[in-house]
Amino acid sequence: MGDYSFRFTKSEKRLVAVLIIIPMVLLFIGVYGGLMQTLFRAGIIQSDPFVGGDYYKGLTFHGVLNAIVFTTFFAVAFGNALIPYSLKKNLNVKVAWTSGILMLVGSVMAAIVILIGEATVLYTFYPPLKAHPLFYIGLTLLVVGSWVASGNWVPMYLQWRKENEGKKTPLAVVGMFTTFIVWFIATLAVAVEILFMLLPWSLGWVDEINVMLARTLFWFFGHPLVYFWLLPAYVMYYVFMPKLAGGKLFSDMAGRLVFMMFIVFSVPVGTHHQYMDPAISSQWKLLHGIFTFAVALPSLITAFTIAASLEYAGKLRGAKGLFGWMWKLPYFKKENWFFAYLITGLIIFIFGGIGGIINASYQMNTVIHNTAWVPGHFHLTVAGPVMLAFLGGSLYLVGQFLNKTIRLKTWAMIAPYIYTIGLLIMSYGLKIGGLMGMPRRTNTGASYANPDSVLYQADWMPYIDLTVIGGSIMFVGIVIYIISFFTTVFSKSNGPEEDAVVTFPISEPLHDEPSTWLRNFKPYIIIAIILIVLSYTPVIYDVLQATYGGSLPYSPDSPVPLR
């Protein structure tokens, strides 16, 4: 183990670079939408000054581009980089490019119909709001593309296992396969929702749709989706971060255990997003609540393991005492800019994790469900640790795969700190507002935050203003990042492509146990399937039993159905 270099082919390098750079442009559009939202919500703007359209169109492309498109591309690009590197095997480039093209075509298609205002359904696309069929087709292509990409890694891994009998699979590979096993199981449900329900209904082949069923299938997918976002970040925390800090991974087995636990518990938890829904018995909601607590455990283990790894690194750097190591880490070293993205994310995740346990806590969900608290919470998770790790990872990948030195390193190093400050301010505003009853997904600027409206809520105003301040600071952080990213992309490369090799900072374990019981995915996948069947059969049964009638499609602009 330890550092080594691997020679990717030219085509592989191009692909990874494309899968990072094009989505970065889409992310920037999405983040721009986020800034506009904070202005809308405070009543500062009434329509989007550049893209046009109302709050909800902006909210749709903000959610879809940031949380679905950018994240999926990054996960695929990261796998396409890390799996060949760790197994020392090249990709089948034909398959890899096919997957990339499917994803690009799908995303651009979905982005266009959203931007022309034909799919203002938000990133959850709940029926009976109907989007243009191309929206659903675009999302399907994105998902299918990601399946193709991960399918491409399977024969490489099987081959590797044959050649390396008795050896432990590299932790990075375990993490990436975990990511995509969770993703594959989860996306099966949304594929059923889209292909058998939404798409035929949006094309007019069938008239009506069962809204609760579609919603339940969505959340079967929706919760594991958040682990699909989180797991590549965990790979970076376990595999890169100890090394970047100058130490070792405290426990290799902890990493393997954590990943297997995510396979087992990621899916049978989705109903915790439906605690306030009708047509599902409360005892099944409680069961999903129990599993949600189970899936909190690997995150607590991670908190310990990473902290212990950083402590070890700090002590190697001469730290004394119980907490001395905290002051010895390379927070502001521009040569070690990557570390900044990971440590800021971990700090944010303390708040994200606490919020998550609150949301999961069954009755307590009554207080916060669908209030502004919820976006306050998930900006501390997906727009925090996940986004920061992905931004750091993206910059690292383009540097390696385009054979370029990172430019404006000080900017790159400082961007995550600025973003973090803004994020903490914005999320505080959203969370407190939510506790006061401020609804999420709501253009407050046109009602609750408008002094001329009968609905005006004066006591919400300070918190709405905080989101403007925090959101603007976040946006500045992203702009600084984007400048450093594109300056690097457009800079001159370090010599001819043929000579360039790729290196990742791979940490060595401090405690390395054989962990033979954690070497095979199969038993964990089987347990996962059993838990899914047990936890979802009664839920789906209840939904089918307790709902009546079907729903015709609606546009967001009129209370009269479209047919």
């Binding site: 605690y275 909190a296 310990f304 009755q363 009554t366 469900h369 009853g437 709902t547 609606y554 967001p556």
Partner: protein, 158 residues
Amino acid sequence: MDNSEKLALGLSGLLLVLFFGAIMYAAVAKDIDVPTCITDMDPFVTDTLFQTGPDSYELQMVARMWAFQPSTVRLPVGSTVDLYVTSQDIIHGFKVEKHNVNLMAIPGAINYMRVTFNEPGEYMYACHEFCGAAHHTMAGRFIIEERLDEPEVDGGAL
């Protein structure tokens, strides 16, 4: 496994069990629960309020683009309301300010929660699920009064 690791694992598990115990305590001892599956109620398309006991009422609430029916409900202090909520068109959300009532209003399903109003005042309910272009204007309120002869509703179906 390192000893510190075992300790951390044990404490993490204990913490989660503790939290879970609190949830069960609230559910069993305090009877604070989340909405459940309602099958003994006929679908309704118009709103109604009627008295079911000295201090208790049943309210059937209909959410639609972009209003709650009824949009104002006047009740005396101490009223307990059996609240049934459904939607006539797309998904809406219903949460009463300062009370533990939070319900998704979904077409094709009926949602239920019981709420008691012990303090006089005005309690807003704002729609909290995106329901189209005028979602942000969709709200109503409970007005709870000390002395009230006749409970009444406004903004109901004609």
